[in-house]
């Protein structure tokens, strides 16, 4: 059962989780909880497909990212300016996304839950390495976004640790008051974190529709946005950890699609990713170290 095909499938399934989870890191590290990632993925998936129909795959991906960023802007505005409870705001985004997507689908394509077929990006086959038998399925005809996903990980680590932007972003999520006293623009950093997370969630959604399935289908995100959050927590808010966690969950997802067993009904196999998430969080939460000021609305100048 542990075949190269399974490995390839696992990697493909983990891509959306990894991209969204890494994106979530930007938001949470700036101190804003983003429960609305699922909604941003949904919007990205639809926008990616819709964009793909009219503008081709590249355009679709871009539109998907923009759509995700736009939803994130709403969440950011409500959470930062209005100090709305971030969970409530994120949930509202999820509901809004569901409605906006259906509405747009009906308006543009006359079908509420699907879009027409979309071409995908030119597939990449890695030279040389693809010749190796057990790597063949993994590296042949692979979407470029897979590479993007795995490149995002070290890129994010680099941004967080080696740039002024990363330092200030992280400081805002840990101790915004201290950052403010040192002249860091706390609000700006939070906006940046949330919008980046939205853009990446949108990218992730667009990957699902444009690259993975070839069209948008309602419900295709299947709670991946929340699983990505769990992956981020499991990965201790670090890109490397999120990637490993994403691979784990991706593997569980791949299993749930491929494992056909007489003994176990397929619905239970499909439950694996969700139950796994709970088990992982339960075992992990004691040791997790979130950004110290995450989830706390910041009031400028609210010192002693």
């Amino acid at each position: 059962m542990l075949s190269p095909e399974l490995l390839a499938s696992a990697i493909r399934m983990s891509v959306p989780i990894i991209i969204t989870a890494v994106g979530a890191i930007y938001s949470e590290r700036s101190g804003i909880v983003n429960i609305g990632l699922e909604g941003m993925m949904i919007v990205g998936a639809f926008a990616g497909a819709a964009g793909g129909v009219f503008l081709g795959p590249f355009g679709g991906i871009l539109v998907g990212m923009l759509a995700g960023a736009f939803m994130a802007l709403i969440h950011a505005y409500a959470s930062i300016q209005f100090k709305v409870d971030q969970i409530v705001s994120g949930t509202a985004i999820n509901i809004l996304a569901y409605g906006v997507v259906r509405f747009s689908a009906v308006s543009i394509f006359r079908a509420a839950t699907t879009t027409p077929h979309v071409d995908h990006l030119p597939a990449i086959t890695v030279p040389l390495l693809a010749g190796i038998p057990w790597l063949k399925p993994v590296l042949t005809h692979v979407s470029p976004l897979v590479f993007v996903a795995f490149l995002l990980v070290p890129l994010t680590a680099w941004i967080m640790n080696r740039t002024v932007f990363g330092l200030r972003l992280r400081s805002v999520g840990e101790y915004p008051l201290a950052a403010e006293t040192l002249g860091v623009n706390v609000y700006l950093m939070k906006y940046a974190g949330v919008i980046i997370s939205g853009a990446l969630a949108g990218l992730s959604g667009a990957y699902l529709s444009v690259e993975h399935t070839g069209m948008y289908v309602e419900g295709m995100t299947q709670g991946l946005g929340f699983i990505a959050l769990a992956a981020m927590i499991f990965g201790n808010w670090k890109p490397g950890g999120a990637m490993l966690a994403g691979l784990l969950f991706g593997f569980a997802q791949a299993l749930s699609f491929r494992a056909v067993s007489e003994a176990i009904p397929y619905q239970f196999i499909k439950m694996i990713p969700y139950l796994l998430t709970i088990v992982v969080l339960a075992g992990w939460s004691r040791r997790s170290r979130p950004p110290a000021a995450v989830g706390v609305p910041y009031e400028r100048g609210e010192s002693t």
């Binding site: 640790n161 080696r162 740039t163 002024v164 932007f165 990363g166 330092l167 200030r168 992280r170 400081s171 840990e174 101790y175 008051l177 201290a178 950052a179 006293t181 040192l182 002249g183 860091v184 170290r289 110290a292 100048g301 010192s303 002693t304």
Partner: protein
Amino acid sequence: MAQANAVLAIQGVTKRFPGIVANGDVSFDVLEGEIHAIVGENGAGKSTLVKIVTGLYQPDEGRILFRGRPALFRNPRQAILAGIGIVHQHFMLVSNFTVTENVILGAEPPRRGLIDPKDAATKVRDLSAQYGVKLDPDRRIEDLSVGEQQRVEILKVLYRGAGLIILDEPTAVLVPQETEELFEHLRTLKRQGKTIVFISHKLDEVLRISDRITVLRRGRVVGTVKAADVTRPKLAEMMVGRPVLFDLKRNEAPPGEDRLVVEGLKASTGRRSILADLSFRVRAGEIYGIAGVEGNGQTELAEAIMGLRRVGGGRIHLAGEDITNHPAALVRKRGAAYIPEDRHQRGLVLPMTVWENAVLGAHRLPEFRRGFRLQFPGIYRFVEEGVVKFDVRLTSIQAKAETLSGGNQQKLILVREFRGDPKFIVASQPTRGLDIGATEFVRQQLLNARDQGAAVLLISADLEEIIAVADRIGVIYNGHIQAEFSQDEAEPKTLGLYMTGAKQGSEGGRRAS
């Protein structure tokens, strides 16, 4: 009017808040290259003054000159840019960042948006060598000792080119060796031409390190003196003043049996021990006052007694029963009542109504409940009577607690806590923020309870209050009762010495009868 070599000239600064004058016509100079201390008790106005100087507050009157130029900053950034640096009492450090990251945050070396960790670390290392402030740039804040963390704060201000460095209660969190090291650093900085302002209530340290001292009391300047010209007792007297005796009525009956016995209580957070072998006892019919500057373990002691905080060692006995580490509800059942020091955070649920707050915790008692429902006639009767008895002024008991003034909120807490004639009462800073009328009322209530046989533990940073109200007084310093006095023996000067660590008790330090 400012002296020629005054780096900082404070002239007639006044700052008012609703109901209180935090700074009243404060004037003094800080001279170039000196170490100038500002001393005073809690509430004397020290932190307000500092916030004005560093740009967090704006004064209502007066002006400030920095190096001869007007310096009323509108935000902290301006103060930093002008060359004033502050080392806060509560460190503004990100715990899981390294020393370097904390030092450079917001003023990163210009390298087109990138950070070169090695380069930054070198800069920090050079800086620390230059000023003799020993630190490893790559260590994380959470791994540093408190003394080392403070050095990071000092490095932060030096990195930004501060010429005037303000330290706010810097030794409050240090152990003696760290204090010595800090003083060494300060002397080095002074030699390098920096001017230092040192805010503290610890007189022995202030006398050791400063050149001149300004004493604040109740928002006003009592005087500015040279450290060489003044003694500890004189400073304590300036800080604390003479007690004002209120017209309080009390019984002269002798106290009864031990009601509360605290033995060898120990508690700590991380490295710092908060309660250190703390022992005392309170008898029925007496008020035991714990005098001390805030931050010496009073809050933790009250919480430990009331079952809101776990202790690592020692015993607490209430009316003969061991209640150490018991849950709060159980402690209350045994007859304990608690007036917490923060009436907004822990005392009342502000969005709820007066009557709801008055029965909170007691709402399941038979007189307030019948089966599953609340028994409103009983509740309202109790609250109406209580409100009259404790003089709570309000429009209706259905009003939200947050609409009451501070004094009435405190009296509402009395209504709740004094229900059922508690055998033992912990009153923590009970008159803080209250006007004279409410203050007198609350103190009289405590005396009345005492006259009726309750044991009262009064914790207060207001020395006058303790001397006026308590039968016996224990001075707390660094989580330990240093000395005890009876009401007749107690006088502010002596108490002040123990409160500020100028004098420390020997093992247990028992002296009172």
